[in-house]
Amino acid sequence: MPRIAPSIEDALAAVTDGCVLAVAREVSGVAMAATCALVRRETRNLHLIALPTSSMQADLLIGAGCVTALETSAVSLGEFGPAPRFAAAVIAGALRMRDATCPALHAAFQAGERGEPFAPLRGLIGSDILKYRIDWKVIDNPFAADDPIVLVPAIRPDVALFHAPMADRAGNVWIGRQRELATMAHAAEKTVVTVERIHPGDLLADPVLAAGTLPGFYIDAIALAERGAWPLPLPDHYPADQEHLAEYARLAATPDGFARYLERYVHASRAA
């Protein structure tokens, strides 16, 4: 049974230097408070995999020097523009980049959760994404003549990390309709979750809640983090902090500005 950790830092023990860390897209629930804790802890050499895209979380981790390899379909700050630390790291050659496309990542995690070695996927043939992905293969569909199809290897990350609305004392986590969070947890070796609050009852006892619940069976550590997705949104709970994201985009545009951002908002919150 997963324990409710006394702190976010305790819950993050599984995220070790050099591990393969899977993170969620912005609309699913991004563990931003935990991400700041990883930066403060000076986590290094992460192999980050976004399912299937990332925004400020990847940019922050890359800018802070926590990431050496990145697999994603995109990193963008959305209406706040390009992700500046991500772009700068790629241009500097400081990041081992594996460009993907969204359904390839979904398929690879689904293969991972089933314990299968790979997943087939349409599309991709003739793209430069495929050209640069030497780990992806093209085979002939064994069930039809002259029908090439791409295979992507399964993804089984060391740790999946995300933020969710609530967990109960037994470690069950309510994810609602954000089903890819379940896929992430099923595929990962370990799963770390931060939650807004502790649900007083048993999430699996109520059939309405149970349908949106990820059982504690798949989860290794939970920490309470109120507004733990801030400044990103937690859908159906709170919107993005537009002003803060605009400030991040402005500061992160330069290395000095990014350092000021870290000082002001990431390192300062340790003392707070």
């Binding site: 897209r25 609309v27 699913s28 399912l51 299937p52 895209t53 994603t72 379909s73 995109a74 990193v75 963008s76 959305g78 209406e79 390009p82 992700a83 991500f86 772009a87 790629v90 241009i91 050659g93 460009d99 993907a100 496309t101 969204c102 359904p103 390839a104 979904h106 398929a107 689904q110 996927l121 349409r122 599309g123 991709l124 043939i125 003739g126 793209s127 430069d128 994404i129 495929l130 640069y132 002259d146 029908d147 090439p148 199809i149 309709r177 954000q178 089903r179 890819e180 969070l181 379940a182 896929t183 859908p235 159906d236």
Partner: protein
């Protein structure tokens, strides 16, 4: 807040939305990705005119989005043939319909890095009508050959490809894509623009008729719907765009 524009004039965004609405035609399901307010307006206009048909999925929206099976559902839907129309853009688009969402220069050490390909390398192949959309029509964006192919405009005959580009809409004109030739044909220029101007600002070769027509202006009925019901729905997802183009805010009375 600005006054509503008169019904005999329209803004560029309204013209483009109505052109796209025409290209959508009759469809069951139109999906719109991120950062696409004009295609979203076109899809919502199609739904308003079709009294509920097509289904419209705005991926950024809570309200205009029926998916309950996570991020994969859109792609599963499309792979199964259940998305009829989608929209893509590119930092670069070339004359063969190839799009680049990744980088300028050598992708390993690029001069400029863009966010990435998102779902394009799948959706471009399986959605029957992909409408390309780029509001900066210049030799910088419409190029002879893209630096990185996020997704190709056409595929070899043996590659599974029920989908692909049908048109490219810019701030200056409408190109239609000829799938057999694998190249664009100039279909119309927007009011106030000329065929010579298109040639000057387009970096790729394309076909053109001897005389090029002018993109038709939206009907009064379409403009009314766009400025009324559609603007109200669009404000949830694109508040700044809606305020700027339609002079109204989320929640304001129609």
């Amino acid at each position: 807040m600005q006054a509503a524009p008169p019904e005999d004039s329209c803004r560029d965004e309204e013209l483009l939305a109505c052109v796209i609405r025409g290209l959508i035609g009759d469809a069951r399901h139109v999906a719109v990705g991120n950062a696409s307010p004009i295609p979203a307006a076109a899809a919502l206009l199609a739904r308003a005119e079709g009294q509920g048909r097509p289904y419209v999925s705005l991926l950024q929206s809570r309200k205009h989005n029926f998916f309950t099976d996570g991020g994969r559902e859109l792609f599963d839907c499309a792979g199964r043939g259940r998305v009829d129309v989608f929209f893509l853009s590119g930092a670069q688009i070339d004359g063969q319909g190839n799009i680049n969402l990744v980088a300028i220069g050598d992708p390993a050490r690029p001069q400029v890095r863009f966010p990435g390909s998102f779902g394009s390398a799948f959706l471009y192949y399986v959605v029957p009508k992909v409408i390309l959309f780029r509001t900066e029509h210049s030799r910088r964006t419409l190029v002879a050959k893209v630096d990185f192919i996020s997704a190709p405009g056409t595929s070899a005959p043996n590659v599974y490809r029920p989908g692909g580009p049908v048109a490219l809409i810019t701030n200056r004109c409408v190109f239609l894509f000829d799938k057999d030739k694998g190249r664009f044909r100039l279909a119309s220029v927007h009011p106030g623009h000329s065929a010579a101007e298109i040639a000057e600002h387009t970096g790729f070769a394309y076909d053109a008729p001897e005389t090029v027509g002018v993109t038709p202006k939206p009907s009064v009925q379409s403009l009314r719907l766009l400025r009324g019901a559609v603007a109200g729905e669009l404000a949830e997802v694109y508040p700044q765009f809606t305020a700027q183009v339609f002079g109204r805010r989320h929640g304001s009375a129609s």
